[in-house]
């Protein structure tokens, strides 16, 4: 019995080697792409990537920031991958996050004891997120509307609806550029003082584990995967495809809403939503990239989210002006490594790097192609 288990574990691990290799290759391609872009505009990629790494993992505070950035990304990645497992292409996390945030802020309009208040805020965000996914679900199931289109429309409607909510009903009367600060009773406890890291990260990781368990260890999760891989055979087996579609959308909506909540009740020092929506923008779309890098697997997404969290946190250090070009190069590097200089590259570059990574992920068998190419060159 243990012999079989051991061989199964070995099979599992070797099965993971290839996707890991391909992911690593995709990331490498992305970083190279970013370097090319930087070189075009005469920035120094070496400075940038060293600063990036230092800013992401260089110290306890930095790691805390990285994890804090990763928190919502895990959740929005789950939204996408739950859809993928059920055979759908859900890109509506963006809008669901926005309204989930609104829900969490709205919970502060009530007075509740601590702990309970937090749970209520999370509950609100999940419910609102799920509600926002319902139109997509209903349209898909009743009229066959492609989810890509309906999700985008719902995203844009959410943008304007959220902006309205932030500027009128939920606005902070003292400072109109943001909403009311969420009540202290509804906040996550801070894990490391003076950082942005709260217990919200635990919620994200737990959610990922729950989804993993759901998909591979429950019959409903089994049905999700069957429908995603072969809807016809699932129908013949008596699985209700429509039910699965609606459930996957609702579950995705819940995790997205939760992601939104983590940005207000889990994010010091602001504990509120900006009128420009800056602190929740692009969480949905970045979640897509995270899920793809994480091979649409809940546990993989945790690691991918930490990677992306690192990218975005590190980018802050990357933005710091670079060392003086008059210094010898070794000393320039030294300054960057110490942290007294960055690279002067704006954070937006990370978005471009992210795009290239996703494109690289889209190439099937990139690893094989590379191997064949190297073999051919060696054979010459």
């Amino acid at each position: 019995m243990t012999q079989q288990k051991r061989s199964r574990v070995r099979e599992y691990l070797s099965g993971m080697a290839r996707p890991l290799g391909e992911t690593a290759l995709a990331i490498a391609i992305g970083l190279v792409g970013g370097a090319v872009i930087m070189l075009i505009w005469k920035y120094d990629p070496l400075h940038a990537y060293i600063a990036l790494f230092k800013g992401a993992f260089g110290g306890v505070d930095e790691i805390a920031s990285t994890l804090s950035m990763a928190t919502p990304l895990i959740l929005t990645a789950l939204t996408f991958l739950i859809g993928v497992k059920a055979g759908l292409f859900i890109i509506g996390a963006e809008g669901q996050v926005y309204l989930g945030t609104v829900g969490a802020v709205a919970a502060s309009l009530f007075v509740l004891p601590p702990g309970v208040h937090l749970l209520v805020a999370l509950l609100f965000s999940m419910v609102v997120g799920a509600l926002w996914s319902l139109p997509v679900a209903i349209l898909k199931v009743t009229r066959g509307v492609h989810e890509v289109i309906s999700c985008i429309m719902m995203n844009w409607i959410a943008v304007w609806l959220t902006r309205y909510m932030v500027n009128y009903p939920l606005v902070d009367p003292a400072r109109s550029e943001k909403t009311i600060t969420v009540a202290p009773t509804s906040r996550f406890p801070i894990l490391i003082p003076r950082t942005e890291l709260t217990l919200a990260i635990a919620v994200s990781i737990v959610a990922a584990i729950v989804i993993y368990y759901f998909l591979w260890h429950t019959s409903l999760g089994y049905q999700f995967r069957a429908v995603g891989l072969n809807p016809e055979a699932s129908r013949y087996a008596g699985i209700n495809q429509l039910r699965i579609i609606i459930l996957s959308l609702v579950m995705g909506g819940m995790t997205a809403g939760l992601a939104g909540a983590t940005q207000v009740v889990g994010r010091p020092p602001t504990w509120a939503l900006y009128g420009t929506l800056a602190n929740i923008m692009n969480l949905g779309f970045n979640g897509l990239a995270v899920a793809m890098i994480g091979r649409t697997h809940p546990i993989g997404s945790i690691f991918a989210a930490i990677f992306f969290g690192g990218l975005y946190t590190g980018a802050r250090q990357m933005q710091v002006p670079g060392p003086s070009p008059s210094l010898p190069y070794i000393e320039q590097l030294g300054e960057v490594v110490r942290g007294t200089a960055g690279a002067g590259v704006t954070i937006e570059l990370i978005g471009a790097v992210q795009g290239v990574i996703v494109l690289a992920v889209a190439v099937p068998g990139a690893l094989d192609m590379l191997r064949k190419y190297l073999r051919r060159r060696r054979g010459r």
């Binding site: 009229r143 509307v145 429309m153 609806l161 990239a289 990370i350 795009g355």
Partner: protein
């Protein structure tokens, strides 16, 4: 303003708003007829808008900008074609990758080139206008109409159109007939990319005369909605684009009414997206799409 003047303004705005949607949708119907599904249109619009401004400022000419935009669109389609058509990659993921890349690259580029974080206006910029009874129109308005008609003729009346239709329905039949499925899909993709590139250029150097990092505003996806709603008929897609263009113009019209819009302007801006949703919902169902849409072709 008198009622007639208001109506004219609305008509002109609608036509102008229609142009990027129509061009993109027309190009994409051709692309989808051949079997490729490109959700990276949004990113294409954004990138082309950005590069068109660079081109326009570098050459000092409107057409310079248009050409640069068009070439950008074609370049993106080339990347799409290589990964999706030749390397058989997942078309949806590629589209998302293009969109993500565009978001980052354009925002980065705005800072790298003009040191401005969000918005760059073109100085002393007067795009050409054709005087008509209903106001001064951009030359791309009739161009969009003409392209819709040309695309319709291409698909239904030419030899290449026959091959495109066959590629989308049953690529094996094309292969057996001695034609290259990949090449046909590549040409269709380039065609779609060129039109989307022109549409993006139009946004920045013609209609708005500035470029921002969100200038596409979902228009790539609204074009997709047009394509879906039209069942890949270029003329119907054009009609859809006009409808959406009108809803966008109407929203702007409401928002800029003297005394403020009747409802908070946030809700006014939702109108084009709600209209898209309603139209796509109401019309879908009777449409038939090419059987091989979205699937790469592998010989046996």
């Amino acid at each position: 303003m008198s009622f007639v003047a208001q109506a004219i303004t609305l008509a002109t705005s609608s036509l102008h708003a229609m142009v990027p949607l129509s061009l993109t949708a027309t190009g994409e119907t051709f692309n989808e007829k051949a079997g490729s599904f490109n959700i990276g249109l949004e990113g294409t619009l954004l990138l082309s808008a950005f590069t068109a401004v660079i081109g326009a400022e570098a050459t000092g000419s409107y057409f310079g900008g248009l050409i640069v935009g068009m070439l950008t669109g074609m370049l993106i389609s080339l990347v799409f074609a290589v990964i999706a058509i030749y390397w058989k990659g997942d078309q949806m993921i590629i589209g998302i990758g293009v969109n993500l890349f565009a978001l980052g690259f354009v925002a980065f580029g705005l800072i790298a080139v003009w040191k401005t974080p969000g918005h760059h206006g073109l100085a002393n910029w007067y795009p050409p206008r054709i005087p008509t009874p209903i106001g001064a129109l951009s030359p791309l308005v009739p161009f969009a109409v003409v392209m819709a008609i040309i695309t319709y003729l291409l698909v239904n009346k030419t030899v290449f159109g026959l091959r495109v239709k066959a590629s989308g329905e049953n690529p094996e039949s094309v292969d057996v007939a001695g034609l290259s499925v990949e090449r046909i899909r590549l040409v269709s993709a380039l065609f779609g990319g060129a039109l989307a590139g022109i549409a993006g250029a139009y946004l920045s150097i013609d209609w708005l005369s500035f470029v921002t990092k969100e200038i596409s505003a979902g228009r790539g996806f609204i074009s997709l909605a047009c394509v879906v709603f039209s069942g890949l008929d270029p003329l119907l897609a054009f009609g859809g684009a006009f409808l959406f263009g009108f809803s966008e113009a109407f929203a702007i019209f409401l928002a800029s009414m003297p005394g403020g819009p009747p409802i908070p302007y946030f809700f006014v801006y939702m109108i084009p997206y709600i209209v898209s949703l309603v139209v796509v919902t109401g019309v879908i169902g009777r449409r038939r799409f090419p059987a091989a849409l979205g699937t790469p072709y592998r010989r046996e």
